[in-house]
Amino acid sequence: MINVTVKLSADLRRYRPALRIDESLPLSVPEETTLLELLSEILQIPAHAIAIPIVNGVKCKLNQKLVEGDRVAFWPPMAGG
């Protein structure tokens, strides 16, 4: 098992309404878990709700595998100015 943290922002917070905005979820997940598996199997959030997956500050693809200590953050489609 590896330990990662997961942050849900903006609209995605409705999937874990009890989570405070400054809180991230500490999770231990099996080795080789991909972001997609994290979403669909563990968090049970539909992948199409995610536009910007970020791991350790870097935007990445959903087939990326997690490693120990990863900071994962998911964002719905968004932009700003």
Binding site: A10, K59, A79, G81
Partner: protein
């Protein structure tokens, strides 16, 4: 009969109290579209860029685009163009609300304000009747007070653009405020309005905008409407969380400049982000003219020392007054943001200047005695106090009011100025977003995020995803889909925020039936390029050189911490590649053939010697 355009330019000379009307040169409009392009072109015909910005010769041009006020989605923008008091470059600040469309309804494409009044005045434009009236009653009033007073003095439905006390006191960070809270903020355009002693412009227009092919126009407009209301960004996150929804995302990427760019991650960002704003202070959304997005946030801090009400803070404001000053108290940030509105000063430059002063203070270059109180990073009360002093030009605020470039120079630390061409950078760290680094360095009005927001490509993947950390092949991206495209969009009168949902082609599909002129996609590319080059030539003539296309030294050093620790702005030879792509020589000057291609040869002799 004019379509899209109204066909008239209003010229007001404040020195002589003269009002004249000129016909719009349609050929010029066809080349420069309107708004930013047309107003810049008008400016270049008015002055030699070498003049002093704060002189009576420098006119203040309010421009609208052919789509402004047409009722197509988000067609609310007007621009203010002049030689910038803060930077000495060409200035083009724009704003939404309802003032822009009202200029069109009153029958004008642009207002050129020349000269300087000896006494405070305001302009009352009611369709074709134009009066210059004394503003002695209004002087010293905040924009909200000015608007309500002027609506009593003129017409209850008149739309107002004015300056706040900051502009009156010639703060180089002053903007022009319309519809109470909206600012054409950057480059110090409000200072020039203050110099002209023009407190406000009140407009009431009962006319309309003619459309060449109303049916086709409305069809295209509704296609666009459907695209925007179907888009998860424009109609989703912008509405739900406003622009500040970005705070946590950019911070998560380690690209959220903090404490005057000393770091790129702010540990308390979440406290001042879009979610916090929505949960803590949001009252409701409101919209600009004809805009389905309605990203404006009416907010209120109900009690406590930071009690106040207004709009925002938007992403940039919550950053500059928050993270950049190390402040994590949302209510203090909101209050500082309301105060900036009350004084009519730019939130980005104000926050950045205070952050610069904080660094000067912490390094000992600036003493407590000079400021009057300790001004440390993270001290929210001191930050709010500094904003107030800046707006009033009170005590040390007198120095702050002229921006961070002059502040840093004055206290012997020019390296603490975090900007380009005297304009402070915005909330995307160039150490992480390499495209933004190049864009900041080469932008015509100084470091600015809305001249080419490459974050769209480097993060959201619009038009396509390019990883932020590389600069290879981004020169062309910065040039065309961002800088040139933005120049074109700003010229049409449509809001840049629609660009997340729609493309150039859709804007062109509106322009043709609105104006009856053959605006099309291919021409829009040349038009954008032409406008960009014209602005560049203005700057060259004003004395700027390739040496000014550079970033502050700090961002070329590795980011000290956060998820992107070690990353830095790379620029280096990429500027030369960018010049080449633009058709410029290594000094950053357009070649003669480039100017010929763009039909810009008639201007000052600033082009390259060798071809």
């Amino acid at each position: 009969m004019y379509y899209g355009y109204t066909g008239t330019i209003l010229r007001v000379n404040l020195t002589h109290g003269e009002v004249t009307k000129e016909a719009l040169d349609l050929k010029m409009a066809e080349e420069f579209v309107g708004g930013r392009g047309l107003a810049s072109r008008l400016l270049c015909a008015e002055i030699d860029p070498e003049i002093e910005a704060m002189s009576p010769e420098n006119p203040l041009i309010f421009g609208t685009g052919p789509l402004t006020g047409t009722g197509a989605p988000a067609t609310a923008r007007y621009v203010v163009v002049c030689k910038a008091p803060l930077t000495g470059t060409i200035a083009c600040s724009n704003s939404g609300g309802f003032f822009g469309p009202e200029i069109k309804f009153a029958g004008y494409d642009a207002l050129i304000i020349e000269g300087e009044s000896p006494e405070p005045v305001y302009l009352w434009i009611q369709d074709d009747r134009v009066e210059i009236r004394s503003a002695s009653l209004l002087w010293g009033k905040t924009p909200v007070e000015t608007e309500s007073t002027l609506q009593k003095l003129t017409h209850p439905a008149s739309k107002i653009a004015c300056i706040g006390p900051g502009g009156e006191k010639l703060s180089l960070m002053a903007g022009i405020v319309n519809d109470n809270y909206r600012l054409a903020a950057r480059s110090g355009v409000g200072a020039l309005m203050g110099k002209k002693k023009l407190k406000a412009i009140a407009i009431r227009g009962t006319g309309g905008v003619n459309l060449a092919d109303p049916e086709q126009f409305w069809k295209a407009s509704m296609d666009m409407h459907a695209k925007i209301t179907g888009d998860p960004v424009s109609f989703g996150s912008f509405r739900a969380y406003g622009t500040a929804s970005l705070v946590n995302l950019i911070n998560e990427m380690g690209a959220y400049p903090t404490r005057n760019f000393q770091s790129d991650t702010f540990e308390d960002a979440v406290k001042t982000g879009g979610e916090a704003i929505t949960e803590d202070i949001l009252e409701r959304n409101r919209a600009c003219f004809a805009c389905p997005i309605s990203c404006t946030r009416v907010t209120e801090v109900k009690e406590g020392p930071y009690k106040g009400r207004g709009e925002g803070p938007e992403y940039e404001s919550t950053w500059s007054l928050g993270a950049l000053c190390g402040v994590s108290n949302l209510e203090a940030v909101a209050k500082a943001n309301y105060l900036c509105g009350d004084y009519g000063i730019d939130t980005i430059s104000t926050g950045a200047t205070i952050a610069c002063a904080m660094e000067l203070f912490e390094t000992g270059a600036l003493s407590e005695k000079e400021i009057g109180f300790p001004l440390r990073f993270g001290d929210e009360a001191a930050m709010v106090r500094a904003v107030e002093m800046t707006g009033k030009r009170e005590g040390f605020g007198d120095i702050l009011a002229d921006g961070s470039y002059r502040l840093a120079e004055r206290y012997g630390h020019p390296e603490f100025f975090m900007g380009v061409k005297k304009l402070e950078m915005s909330a995307y760290s160039p150490r992480v977003f390499q495209g933004m680094a190049l864009q900041y360095a080469t932008s015509n009005r100084g470091a600015c995020h809305v001249r080419g927001n490459t974050v769209a490509a480097e993060l959201y993947g619009i038009p396509r995803y390019m990883p932020p950390e590389v600069l290879e092949q981004k020169e062309e991206m910065v040039r065309r889909p961002f800088q040139n495209s933005t120049a074109f969009v700003d010229s049409t009168g449509i809001c840049l925020f629609t660009k997340f949902a729609i493309t150039h082609r859709e804007i062109c599909a509106l322009l043709a039936p609105a104006t009856g002129i053959d605006f099309n996609f291919d021409r829009s590319i040349v038009q954008g390029d032409r406008i960009w080059n014209l602005e560049r030539m203005f700057n060259l003539r004003a004395g700027f050189t390739a040496a000014d296309d550079k970033l502050p030294a700090r961002v070329s050093e590795p980011s000290p911490d956060g998820p992107r620790a070690g990353s830095r702005a790379i620029l280096q030879n990429h500027i030369q590649t960018y010049y080449q792509l633009r058709g410029w020589d290594e000094e950053g000057r357009p070649t003669r053939s480039k100017l010929k291609e763009l039909n810009l040869e008639d201007f000052w002799n600033v082009c390259s010697e060798h071809d």
